[in-house]
């Protein structure tokens, strides 16, 4: 508990220094602002509903893309991880596609889907696919072989084996991959909006910059930072609460 107040000391000191120098040393201009003006702009955007709408647009794009990538990535990871031959044969192709930066797909999405939520979802899904797939495939390889033998003796179908045996046993490790992918999803969604797509928080941010509203731009940036922080904190919390006993180090104990 003693860590939190100490950690808050620096941001609070910085904000006070910024605010006082903004009131005494320099006047707000097209590029400079004060924390109080920033907060006021953010509150105003919250009151007129534009902030809520933009947040909903960004989160929707990120969430849909993330869900598509989670389902596809988990399925592909299980398939590639459970067979050495399949993994070896398809692996190099995956390794060829993986280094493509997701943002390079923005123009392609623009061409195929035009502006809107679909091109954003496509880019987010592409970016999130790889971390989920890699973690799922590695987790399947780490399953106790005896568990697979048990499922074989039960003579159940492949799909049932994947759903009832493999998925539950890889889930704790898979969750780490999903958490990383969720962070990526938010970042990519905002990036797509900044680079091309006229919707969501990223677009509002770039509009604020073009309209020379530094107060709103800084406010939105802080808001996006808070969203990312809360998302990460929440998922780490879920992981610690539910999956700590599956952590690799303790599994053998």
């Amino acid at each position: 508990m003693t860590r939190l107040p100490r950690g808050l000391a620096l941001p609070i000191a910085a904000l006070i220094a910024w605010e006082t120098s903004g009131r005494t040393l320099f006047q707000p201009t097209d590029t400079l602002t004060r924390p109080s003006a920033m907060a006021a702009a953010l509150v105003q955007a919250g009151m007129d509903g534009s902030l809520v709408q933009a947040t909903a647009e960004t989160l929707a794009g990120a969430a849909i893309g993330f869900l598509i990538a989670s389902v596809l990535g988990t399925a592909a990871g299980i398939v590639l991880g459970s067979s050495r031959i399949l993994g070896g044969v398809a692996g190099p192709t995956v390794e060829l596609l993986r280094p493509i930066p997701a943002v390079a797909l923005i123009p392609l999405g623009l061409l195929i889907f035009g502006f809107g939520v679909r091109m954003e979802v496509m880019t987010v899904a592409f970016a999130c696919l790889w971390p989920v797939m890699t973690v799922a495939s590695a987790a399947v390889k780490g399953i106790d072989p005896r568990l697979i033998e048990v499922s074989r003796t039960l003579e159940i179908g492949r799909l049932e084996q994947a759903l009832k045996f493999i998925l539950p046993s890889i889930f704790p490790r898979l969750f780490v991959g999903l958490r990383l992918a969720a962070g990526v999803a938010l970042v990519v969604a905002v990036t797509v909006e900044i680079a091309a797509n006229p919707q969501g928080l990223g677009y509002r941010l770039i509009l604020a910059q073009q309209n020379l509203r530094p107060d709103l731009a800084f406010g939105l940036l802080t808001w996006i930072g808070c969203l990312g922080w809360v998302l990460n904190r929440g998922l780490v919390g879920v992981e610690r609460r539910y999956f700590w006993r599956f952590a690799p180090a303790k599994r053998n104990a």
Binding site: G7, P11, L96, V190, L205
Partner: protein
């Protein structure tokens, strides 16, 4: 076992060829409009045309220069700041929450702020790239300097090692693996941010090329550009991986 591996490698090559063949067939049959989905041969042709005309080299060099300069700046700053914070538990307790907040901030979202303050200048682009690429190196370095085995420090105490010897013989070797893996993540970030910055600022480079190709419906150039960006990402990561293996051979 070795023959096994050869068969799998051959299978991998075959898989890629069959996949490309299938994509080619789908494109030839025009299941999807060629405007959205050109055949692999047409993409290869576009790429060959760009290489033959020499029009690919300048944007490629620009993007790589931008990416590497931002990345190197981030690496230098990240290692140094990480080392300072990581060596002092007191300092870390003040800075940790702030660092955690800044780390989760999407670097591309900082770009409008940088544009406001610095304008659409080359310096702005390099600053944004290094801001985004900073965090993985910084956190890697911080972790590396913080996680020194306490018993090693006790040994250092018994040997009465000076501050400098401690740094060179114990702390830096301990931090190098973490720094290197941070550098690898940073490099990927640097490439992403170069592409986004080029699109936003409309400066010459591979990212801008891809956007221009999309706007004028030159689809095969668009796919060729995406391919080149993938190759740049793969090659730089592989080069860093080779460096990593070399430096960490002692482990």
């Amino acid at each position: 076992m070795k023959a096994d591996r050869l068969v799998i490698a051959a299978g991998a090559g075959l898989f890629l060829l069959v996949l490309l063949g299938a994509v080619q067939a789908i494109a030839e049959l025009r299941v999807v409009s060629p405007v959205f989905f050109p055949s692999p041969l047409r993409i290869a042709e576009a790429l060959y045309r760009q290489v033959a005309a020499g029009s690919i080299w300048s944007p490629l060099a620009q993007t790589c220069a931008r990416m590497l300069s931002g990345w190197l700046l981030a690496v230098a700053l990240g290692i140094f700041v990480g080392a300072v914070i990581g060596s002092s538990a007191n300092l870390a307790s003040y800075l940790d929450p702030t660092l955690e907040f800044l780390r989760t901030l999407p670097a591309s979202a900082v770009m409008p702020i940088f544009i406001l303050c610095m304008g659409l200048t080359p310096q702005m682009i390099v600053s944004v790239i290094s801001f985004g690429a900073l965090w993985p190196v910084l956190l890697g370095s911080l972790h590396g300097f913080r996680s020194v085995e306490p018993r090693l420090l006790e040994v250092a105490d018994t040997l009465e090692l000076g501050r400098f010897d401690r740094l060179v013989k114990i702390e830096i070797p301990n931090a190098v693996p973490d720094i290197l893996s941070g550098m690898r993540v940073s490099l990927a970030f640097a490439l992403i941010l170069s592409v986004v910055a080029e699109m936003l600022a409309s400066v010459e480079g591979l990212g801008n090329n891809v956007l221009l190709a999309s706007r004028s419906f030159r689809t095969s150039d668009l796919y060729a550009g995406i391919l080149v960006l993938g190759v740049v990402g793969a090659l730089t990561t592989a080069a860093l991986g080779a460096l990593e293996r070399r430096l960490l051979r002692w482990r």
